[in-house]
Symmetry: C2
Subunit: 339 residues, 2 copies
Amino acid sequence: MGANLTVAVDAMSGDKGTGVIVDAVRQVLNARPDANLLLVGNPDEIQRHIGDQPLPAGRADIVEATEVVTMEDSVAVALRNKKQSSMRIAIDQVKSGRAAACVSSGNTSALMAISKFVLKTVPGIDRPAICTTIPALDGHTHMLDLGANVDCSADHLFQFAAMGSILAQAIDSADQPTVGLLNIGSEDIKGNLQVKEAAELLTNSSLNYIGFVEGNEIFTDRADIVVCDGFVGNVSLKTSEGVARMVSHYLKEEFLRNPVNKLVGLLAKPILRSFGNRIDPRRYNGASLLGLKGVVVKSHGSADAIAFANAINIALLEIDNDVPSMIAERMSHSLSSIA
Amino acid sequence: MGANLTVAVDAMSGDKGTGVIVDAVRQVLNARPDANLLLVGNPDEIQRHIGDQPLPAGRADIVEATEVVTMEDSVAVALRNKKQSSMRIAIDQVKSGRAAACVSSGNTSALMAISKFVLKTVPGIDRPAICTTIPALDGHTHMLDLGANVDCSADHLFQFAAMGSILAQAIDSADQPTVGLLNIGSEDIKGNLQVKEAAELLTNSSLNYIGFVEGNEIFTDRADIVVCDGFVGNVSLKTSEGVARMVSHYLKEEFLRNPVNKLVGLLAKPILRSFGNRIDPRRYNGASLLGLKGVVVKSHGSADAIAFANAINIALLEIDNDVPSMIAERMSHSLSSIA
C-alpha cells in the first residue's frame, strides 16, 4: 500500500459504532479503486463487522488501537493520557507517512488538539480552522472557521480566507472561487474592528474577494467561501441546523394532523423525500481541519455509513489536490510579499 | 386623547408606502378599542389612503412631517439634517408625552440613534439593545441584541438579559422567564471571555438564568430569552432567514417539478399554507428597542399591514406593562446592590 491515496479511519469514535465505519469503508473502496484505507480500532470488533464478506485484498489494513477518546474527555486527557486511542493512532499514521489523511467522528476539540500537536501547522498559519460545506441555492458554500478559534485577529481571518479558497478549488475544481467576509451589514461602516481590517487585507490580496456578506447570503450563490471567526461561524452553523429541524418538524406535523392530511402526505411522499434529499445533512458531512501538515477530516458524531463515506471522499479530494502543500505554498507567497 | 395608550406611527418610512400603514392602523383601532394612534407623515397622502372610510373619531390624529429618513441616509444625516422627518417627529411625540410609543419601518441605525438622542437611555443601561421574537417549537424565543451593539462587555450582556426578561414578562405574561447565554458549547471551558464573565454575573443575579445555549437551541423551548452580542445575534437571525428562504424555495421547486407533482401540490395546498402560517415572519414582526425612556418598536421595512399591525401590538403590550419603567426599576436594584 502506497501512502499516496491512503486514508486512516478512526473506527472507534462516533455514536454509531464500528459497523457504520466498516460499511462506509466498503462503499469508498468500491467507488474509488485507487484508494486504500486503514481501519484503526479494535481488530476483533472490526473483523466481526467485516464478517464473511472480506474487504478488497491489499486495500484495507487494520491498525490496532486499545483506547477511545470520549466526547467527555478534556483536551488535556485526550492529548496526554490516550496515546493508544483510535484517534491518536489514526493521526499518527499521517505523521509517519503511512496515510495521507485521517477521518474521525470523535470529539472535535480533541481531534484539533491532537492533530496540531502531532502534525503541526503549515508555516504561515497561526491557527488551523474548521471548514465545512453548507447547502446553498444552486450549489453550496464553504464556511470557516466553525469553532476552532473563538477570538480572531484580522490576520487570522485572512489566513482562513486563503485556506478556504484552496479547499474550494480542490472540492469544486473552481478556478477563482469568490471569498466573502461575514458581517452584519453591507455598508463599510458596519462591523467590528477585526472584520474591517480583514476586509482591507483581502482587498489588497490576490484572492477573489467580493466584500461583506450577511448571514442570509451564506445560502445563496453570492460567495463560494464565507469567512468568519469560530464563535460566529459555530453559532451560524448551529442556527441553520436548528431552523432546518424546526421546519421539518412543522412540515411533518402538518402532514400528520388528520386522516385527510395523512392521505395527501402519502401521495406527496416522493416529493417530500426528494425535497429532503436536497437538504440532507449527510451529503454535506465532513469538516476539514485546514492549516495542518496533513489532511484531517471531522465527521459528524452521529454520521451513518453514507455520511461517513462522504467525509472519506472529502479527505480523498484533499489528498488528490494536495491541499496542505497548496496552503503552504500560498502562505509562503504571502509571507514573502510582506517581507 | 390621553397619552397612555397612544402610539405614534411613522407613516412615511418602509418600502410599502403609507397605504399599508393606514390599513394596519385601521386593524389595530378595530381590535383594541382602548388604543389611540398618531399617524405621522404627509397629511394629504394619509387622507388619500383613509379615503371615504374615516378612522374612528378622536382615536387617530394626523401629525404632519415633511421629510423621510431613507435607508441610505447615514446616522449623522438622519440625526442632524432631518428634524422634520416622520421618524424624528414620531419619536418627538414620545418625548413630549403625547404618545407613549413609536413604531417605524425605517432605517434601523437611524431609528436607534434618534431614539437614543431624543429619549435618552434609562439610568443603569449603557446601550439600548434590539430584541425580537423568533419562532421556536411550541412557542417562541426572545433574542437580543440583534445588531445595535457589535462589541459587548459582560456588563452589557447582563443588561440585555435583564431587559429581555422584562420584555418577555410583558409579551408572554411569563412570571420567571428563563435566560440563556448564546455560546458555542455547553461546557464551561468554551466561549469567549465576555460570555464567561457574563455567565458569572447571571449566575449571581436574581434572573432565572439556565446556562449556555447553542445556536440550534434558539428554536427549542430551552430558554425564553437568548442573550448575545449584536454581531452574533444579527448573523444568527439572518442565517435563520436564509435557511427558511432556501427551504421554502426547494419545497416549492419540488412541488412544481412536473405535472404530477403540481397536482399533488394542489391537494397539499391547504397543508402547505398552514405550515407556512406557522413560520410566517409577519407573525413575528416588531423588534423592540430596549433601554430607552420610552417604547420604540422597529417594523421590518417590507412589512405589510398584518405585519405592521403586529409591531403596533407589541408597542401596546410594552405600554400596557410599562416596560421602560420596569427596566429602570430593575436597573436601580442592580445599581444599589452593587453600591
